[in-house]
């Protein structure tokens, strides 16, 4: 992919030449010494080749179709003065810059790169450090944010910004970025048809990925690790989440993934490992959970409030402290043909399916929901005994909540 993209850039540059576009070099010993100056003299579709060096500039406005190409990662130092690059034109490419020291403000969301009402943008190979907001797409469609590295040093939520933020933007591809140490790694609000692939979002203060009111988005093969609260997907429809990894999100309100008011989503092939809660589901309906791995979570799945007609099939539930937790006695969801490592039944007819149903909700999880301190009694013999009696005759847990066909072997 990397080579392919490099090739694309070359082809693009080459074709630019064909359209009689020219390349303007910017460096301390060149004729043009600053980026702003370069933009001023450049014509549409020109390329600014920014040579290695440090450019102390901010409020750089790109208002015509240009390519800003960094040579050996030139540094643009905003000196904490405010926003650094603002794009207000279509067809702008930013490539290979190292941007540091974005100003922090409590009134405006200063970003390292802000794209405003523009189309066909490409932001790639950019490294951002010491930032407030990173890449901010505002009402901008049909663009690509590719292979950037955003390393924040956020400490408090109130004075930190998001790594990649999309606001009223459509058809954007966010691919192969690394985001860490910001408030929300990737944040989407009112943004539809977004593809988020192969990103690594770790060690962020709040969420690794945060969706609000954004429909028809897909995210695949991303890794979200050790974020303050994991990933939150809220108030959105028809989201596809495939092959992502959610890992080590520990804490009181931490989850691998939080689903709130999500309908008609597909969640498959994901791995939820060592999270306090693997998936926390609230008011979400008609979701298919298939082929996911839930490994060593505190709670693999915690269901709160009304959740209807969700199906869980062919998932692996491995060594979770609790597999499923419900806070109500009603169940309208289907669990079928999952593998549960806590299953103790047998398979006499050797068809690979356990002969006794598995009840994934333990009485103990009900008790812990009520009195959280009882968690210290986890795995005690006494709890095992009362869990067993509940299993035999369910009183507190929904009695139709069971996997009638538990698998004997893990699904692959």
């Amino acid at each position: 992919m990397k080579y392919l993209n490099g090739l694309l850039v070359i082809i693009f540059l080459f074709s630019g030449h064909c359209l009689s576009a020219k390349t303007i070099s910017v460096c301390s010993s060149c004729k043009i010494k600053s980026i702003k100056e370069g933009i001023k003299v450049a014509d549409e579709f020109d390329t600014l080749l920014i040579k290695k060096g440090t450019y102390k500039e901010f409020n750089i406005l790109i208002d015509k179709p240009l390519t800003l190409l960094g040579d050996k990662f030139p540094v643009i130092d905003g000196e904490d003065q405010g926003e650094i690059i603002r794009i207000t034109s279509d067809n702008v490419t930013i490539d290979g810059l190292f941007i540091i020291n974005v100003g922090t403000s409590y009134t405006s969301d200063y970003a390292a790169i802000r794209v405003v009402k523009s189309e066909n943008f490409l932001i790639q190979n950019v490294v951002l450090e010491k930032l407030f907001f990173g890449i901010y797409l505002e009402k901008s469609n049909n663009g690509k944010v590719y292979h950037n590295k955003i390393i924040g040093d956020a400490v408090d939520e109130y004075n930190s910004g998001n790594g990649i933020q999309l606001w009223y933007s459509k058809n954007v591809e966010v691919d192969r970025n690394i985001v860490q140490g910001v408030r929300d790694g990737i944040y989407l609000e009112f943004s539809d048809n977004i593809t988020i692939n192969n990103n690594i979002s770790t060690n962020n203060l709040r969420y690794g990925l945060h969706f609000m009111f954004s429909d028809d988005d897909t995210y695949t093969n991303n890794t979200f690790e050790n974020n303050g609260a994991g990933v939150a997907v809220m108030f959105s429809k028809r989201i596809k989440m495939i092959g992502n990894t959610f890992k080590k999100n520990w804490g009181t309100a931490a989850f691998g993934m939080l689903l709130k008011e999500i309908n008609d989503a597909e969640i498959s092939g994901n791995t939820f490992e060592e999270n306090t809660i693997g998936i926390n589901i609230e008011g979400s309906n008609r979701i298919n959970y298939k082929n996911n791995n839930f490994i060593k979570n505190g709670w693999a799945i915690k269901v709160l409030g009304a959740c209807y007609t969700n199906t869980f099939t062919k998932n692996n539930f491995l060594y979770n402290s609790f597999d499923i937790s419900y806070n109500s006695k009603l169940n309208d969801n289907v669990f079928d043909q999952n593998y549960w490592s806590n299953y103790t039944g047998y398979d006499l007819d050797k068809n690979g399916i356990g002969d006794v149903p598995y009840r994934p909700v333990k009485l103990f999880s009900y008790i812990v929901n009520r009195t959280p301190e009882t968690i210290v009694l986890l795995r005690s013999l006494f709890m095992d005994i009362i869990d067993f009696s509940e299993k035999v005759s369910p009183v507190f847990t929904p009695d139709n909540l069971l996997d009638a066909n538990p698998l004997m072997k893990r699904t692959k």
Partner: protein, 260 residues
């Protein structure tokens, strides 16, 4: 003392019970690993076994050995040997042979399975350390009970009751008090209650490895401090040590004052 330990140890090594215990663990280890082929699951099952069975076996063995070796004890008492050496020697003989059976019985199948190449080696060794502690603690408790009860059947009964209380009843009372007082802040109380029962203590130690994700879901600051940092591990191990030292020192104290 070392001589007494040596004789007690040899004596036990020759009794078939040590072998039964050893073979039981050996079989358990092999079954868990080679029939299941799942190390993580094996560790979880082993944890349940260790928390429940090791204290029970330690208790029963301790009481049985004490009463069985009464003659040996009386023979030794007339010899120029310090009293506490006699009892500590016998105690350590039992505790060591039980620990050895446990560690070897479980260790051999895990070694054969290639545990060192697996990342659960730490969980597993923690399990063995906890098992060893529980053996030491419950054998000491059993010796204490036996020492205070001349009547064999009474002593045996009290010892099994003590195990039942610590393994099951205690947690039931603990759970009930948590639910009854649920409006009050309970995290310090629940940690303290955990510390006061060696079985709960060992369970906590293992939970710190196996279920840390769940434990960190609770809001209380005390919990967070305890489970979120190394504090929990250090305090638990110190408490286990205390739990080992207390019954042993009571044993030495009582032994000095008993008539034979």
């Amino acid at each position: 003392m070392l001589k007494i330990l040596k004789y007690s140890f040899y004596d036990l090594m020759r009794s078939r019970w040590s072998y039964v215990y050893f073979l039981f663990y050996l079989a358990l280890g092999f079954v868990l690993l080679f029939l299941n082929n799942d190390v993580s699951k094996a560790v979880i099952t082993l944890m349940n076994v260790i928390i429940v069975l090791v204290p029970l076996i330690g208790t029963i063995f301790g009481v049985m050995y004490y009463y069985d070796s009464k003659e040996f004890t009386e023979l030794l008492l007339a010899q120029p040997i310090k009293r506490s050496s006699i009892f500590l020697g016998q105690y350590l003989g039992v505790a060591c042979s039980l620990t050895l059976s446990l560690v070897l019985g479980l260790g051999i199948p895990f070694l054969l399975y290639g545990l060192f190449r697996s990342d659960v080696i730490f969980d597993f060794s923690l399990l063995l350390v906890t098992g060893a502690f529980l053996t030491l603690i419950f054998t000491a408790i059993a010796f204490n009970i036996a020492l205070s009860n001349e009547n064999k059947i009474k002593g045996f009964g009290y010892a099994v009751l003590a195990w039942l209380f610590l393994a099951v009843v205690y947690d039931g009372l603990f759970l009930m008090s948590l639910i009854i007082f649920e409006e009050y802040p309970l995290d310090s109380f629940s940690l303290a209650a955990t510390m006061l029962n060696p079985i709960d203590l060992s369970r906590t130690l293992i939970l710190l490895k196996l279920d840390i994700s769940a434990l960190l879901g609770y809001t209380g600051a005390v919990f967070k401090q305890f489970f979120g940092t190394n504090t929990g591990l250090i305090i638990s191990i110190l408490m286990l040590l205390l739990w080992t030292i207390l019954p042993i020192s009571r044993l030495a104290y009582k032994a000095k004052r008993k008539d034979f």
